[in-house]
């Protein structure tokens, strides 16, 4: 293993030891910090779990069950808006699922060192967000119990899916992404599961023993693992792009005014990363507080993520503007009607709220380091971005359908209680899965942090402590 030394000199005002990678602790202490966070549960945790279980029971089992029994009429979809909150939620959760891959795979490929402590938290979001997103096409179907007819498998009735349909591409892309991102979550988890196995007894010990696949930490094992992670990190990036591009194509491939746009693929991908990274920040802030992970999750991380959000806010604004201006300047009658609906119609308050949350607030605040590193500020900004991104999808889905090419077929859409309950139920499903996983899986990739700390060192030069980074390759 060759070691290349690259020296970096920080501004003198900053203590390099504020950075996680320059502030190493003994291995055992760090392992214990992660394991303690995992095994400690207060009454507050169980209260949250209980509330979430009730919400899931009401929303998914109650409301969705009622909808299956009664038919789609209990939802607010009516002519002409036959795609409503369910498709909005679907697009939203697919967007959230982009967090993990972006934060973990892209930052890993670019060797961004600040990624180390929170890759796992982001990857976990990807898998669970995909599970929730994957529920929505089923919830949306008029005949949910026939969902599997979209799956291409030889059968007696000689049914075969239509590979010309963007919905079919969508299903294949989502399954590919779900399988790929779950494997990509699992691979870097193996050394941490082995660590947890060595420290645990009882059911945890058994669980980790099975999941760690007999990991011993030999040089050959590390070599294979690193190779596999690198392959997956590169392979999962195009899959991530494909998933949201195809979701955008569900809309873009139709003739519907307001949807039929070649910019939709990249526009949706940028929006997805924007909302996904914001959701990562929200989740990290909550985890840091609830699980006392201040050692691992520091100001520098939120600072760096804040910069990413700033860039993606600008990128989203650019795409939004390009799409809007083209539609407006083209001057097609239906398109103009659609834009008028957004600017002055009943959805106008939502539309302006979207612009405030997605454009005004991030672009005006996130350039400031003090705001980027403040807990409350980042929590509010990132929550606002996800509200804004939800509104964006809602307006794209329901707005374009309510103003179509034949004015006789114009109408409005209002979600019903059932749709709202199912939406809350699915959000609760995500939080519940995450909360349960946070007590079973080591949420901090300890080995990655330790690996990073090995390559970062403070050297004494004269009176000064100079941080130095060696690149392991």
């Amino acid at each position: 293993m060759s070691v290349k030394a690259i020296s970096v000199v920080w501004p003198e005002t900053e203590d390099p030891r504020e950075k996680l990678l320059f502030d190493p602790r003994p291995t055992r202490e760090m392992n214990n910090m992660v394991l303690d966070a995992m095994t400690t549960t207060s009454w507050r945790y169980w209260l949250v779990i209980a509330v979430l279980v009730v919400l899931v029971l009401i929303g998914i089992f109650g409301a969705w069950g009622y909808q299956i029994l009664q038919g789609m009429g209990v939802a607010g979809i009516r002519r002409p808006v036959y795609w409503g909150v369910y498709i909005t939620n679907f697009v939203f959760w697919i967007g959230i699922s982009h967090s993990g891959t972006f934060v973990s795979a892209i930052l890993r490929v670019f060797k961004a060192e600040f990624r180390r402590p929170f890759t796992r938290a982001a990857e976990l979001m990807t898998s669970f967000a995909l599970v929730v997103a994957g529920m929505y096409p089923l919830i949306h179907l008029g005949r949910t119990w026939r969902f599997y007819w979209m799956v291409p498998y030889p059968n007696q009735r000689q049914l075969w899916p239509n590979f010309h349909s963007p919905l079919e591409w969508d299903m294949l892309a989502i399954f590919t992404y779900l399988i790929g991102s779950t494997l990509y979550l699992y691979l870097p988890l193996i050394p941490d599961l082995a660590m947890a196995r060595d420290y645990s007894t009882g059911w945890r010990g058994n669980l980790y023993r099975i999941m760690a696949l007999g990991w011993r930490g030999t040089e050959a094992e590390w070599h294979h693992l690193k190779t596999a992670i690198t392959i997956f990190a590169f392979a999962i990036i195009p899959v991530m792009f494909s998933v949201h591009t195809i979701v955008a194509w569900d809309f873009g491939m139709t003739m519907t005014v307001g949807w039929h746009s070649s910019i939709f693929g990249p526009y949706f991908v940028v929006g997805a990363i924007f909302s996904g990274v914001s959701a990562v920040v929200t989740v990290l802030l909550i985890l840091r507080k609830a699980m006392r992970l201040d050692y691992f999750l520091r100001a520098e991380h939120f600072d760096a993520l804040g910069k990413i959000i700033l860039v993606f806010s600008a990128a989203w604004t650019y795409f939004f503007f390009a799409d809007y201006l083209t539609e407006w300047y083209g001057g097609e009658a239906v398109g103009k009607e659609l834009l008028t609906l957004q600017a002055r119609g009943p959805v106008a308050p939502l539309w302006y709220l979207m612009l405030i949350f997605n454009v005004a607030i991030p672009l005006l605040t996130l350039w400031n380091k003090r705001i980027r590193t403040s807990v409350r500020g980042m929590l509010l900004i990132t929550l606002g971005i996800n509200v804004g991104m939800y509104i964006e999808r809602y307006i794209i889905v329901t707005g374009a359908l309510s103003r179509n090419r034949l004015p006789f077929n114009w109408g409005a859409y209002n979600p019903t209680l059932i749709e709202i309950l199912i939406s809350i139920g699915s959000l609760s499903t995500f939080v519940l899965l995450y909360a349960l996983a946070s007590r079973v899986l080591p949420l901090i990739p300890v080995w990655e942090v330790q690996e990073g700390q090995l390559s970062h060192r403070l050297r004494r030069i004269g009176r000064q402590l100079a941080p130095s980074v060696s690149e392991l390759d």
Binding site: G142, L167, R405
Partner: protein, 317 residues
């Protein structure tokens, strides 16, 4: 013909079409003689024997002459029924079912919409053939016209390629069908259709929320039993009672040119019901058919032709 006058108020008079003039004369004659009513009741009660008779007479070259003008008393409806008989004698892929709607003759009575609902037992929220109303001009120079809008049965249908399970397709006669056994209800085709021709069957009934009454004549159950009666779309008997998978509930539904009637030699319900005979139906591959004659006129348009969907519904303006 007040619509004729309104047309003239807004644009130069349309080029008079010989066929059209013949029809107008024919209809005027028929109406004057009270024949139209007789024809309608005959069609309602038509039996196979009579159909055979029509078909026989259609085979006779003398009877292929344009209606009424020859003085043989053949109305537009009868001629179209003859057209259908001839088309049915051909292989399915050689037929080209088209519909022609004369907007100048449509008075906006919505009888076609209602007859369609009755024929196909359509539930609330499902309409195959609404009549759109269009107002043009500014007061006092205003005009109103009515545009019945069945499914366009496009030759390049945007709804077909988007179906993830191949549940909707163009059949060998060129009519876009939905297989109710195969549709999973994703409603993608609805969003893809630029004409709003597709609607979703939520499973409701007009009789929902009506009072329950005693007896066998009135009340919710009596009304609902009519709605739940078997319908015969695509020549398949389906009832809304019992297993939902056996009915179209939870599926997308659309106009299918009353294929189940056409295959039996009958005209679509909307055509037979139209009080002004403004709707025509037939095989455009048959040069002798009434629709071929009509769509050859210069005043033909199709809805949203610029989208390239190649609709099979022609409007005479």
């Amino acid at each position: 013909m007040s619509s004729e006058n309104l047309d003239k108020a807004t644009k130069p008079p349309p080029v008079e079409n010989v066929a059209r003039r013949r029809f107008l004369q024919a209809l005027a004659g028929a109406a004057g003689a009270g024949l139209a009513l007789t024809n309608l009741s005959r069609i309602a009660a038509e039996g196979n024997g009579e159909l055979q008779a029509v078909s026989d007479s259609a085979a006779d070259p003398a009877s292929l002459a344009p209606p009424i003008t020859s003085g043989d008393g053949v109305s537009a409806l009868e001629r179209m029924r003859g057209d259908i008989q001839r088309a049915l004698a051909k292989a399915p892929e050689d037929r080209r079912w088209v519909m022609v709607i004369d907007l100048r003759k449509c008075v906006g009575c919505h009888a076609c919409t209602v007859s369609c609902v009755a024929e196909n037992h359509l539930p609330p929220g499902v309409v195959y053939r609404p009549v759109l109303e269009e107002e043009t001009g500014t007061f006092p120079n205003v005009a109103k016209r009515f545009i019945p809008r069945p499914c366009m049965q496009c030759d390049q249908p945007p709804c077909v390629p988007v179906c993830p399970v191949n549940a909707t397709f163009k059949n060998e006669e060129g009519v876009v069908e939905i297989d109710y056994d195969q549709c999973i209800g994703c409603r993608y085709c609805i969003t893809a259709c630029p004409y709003g021709a597709r609607t979703f069957d939520f499973g409701g009934e007009y009789a929902d929320d009506t009072p329950v009454a005693e007896g066998i004549v009135v009340g919710r159950e009596v009304a609902a039993s009519y709605e739940r009666a078997t319908n015969f779309e695509y020549a398949e008997a389906r009832t809304r009672e019992g297993d939902r998978d056996e009915s179209p509930v939870g599926n997308v539904r659309k106009c299918h040119f009353c294929l189940h009637r056409v295959r039996e030699g009958m005209l679509p319900a909307c055509v037979t019901t139209c009080i002004g005979t403004a709707t025509y139906f037939g095989d455009a591959n048959d040069p002798e058919s009434l629709v071929s004659e009509l769509i050859a006129s210069p005043n033909v348009m199709r809805l949203k032709e610029e989208l390239g969907t190649e609709p099979r519904v022609y409007y005479l303006t």
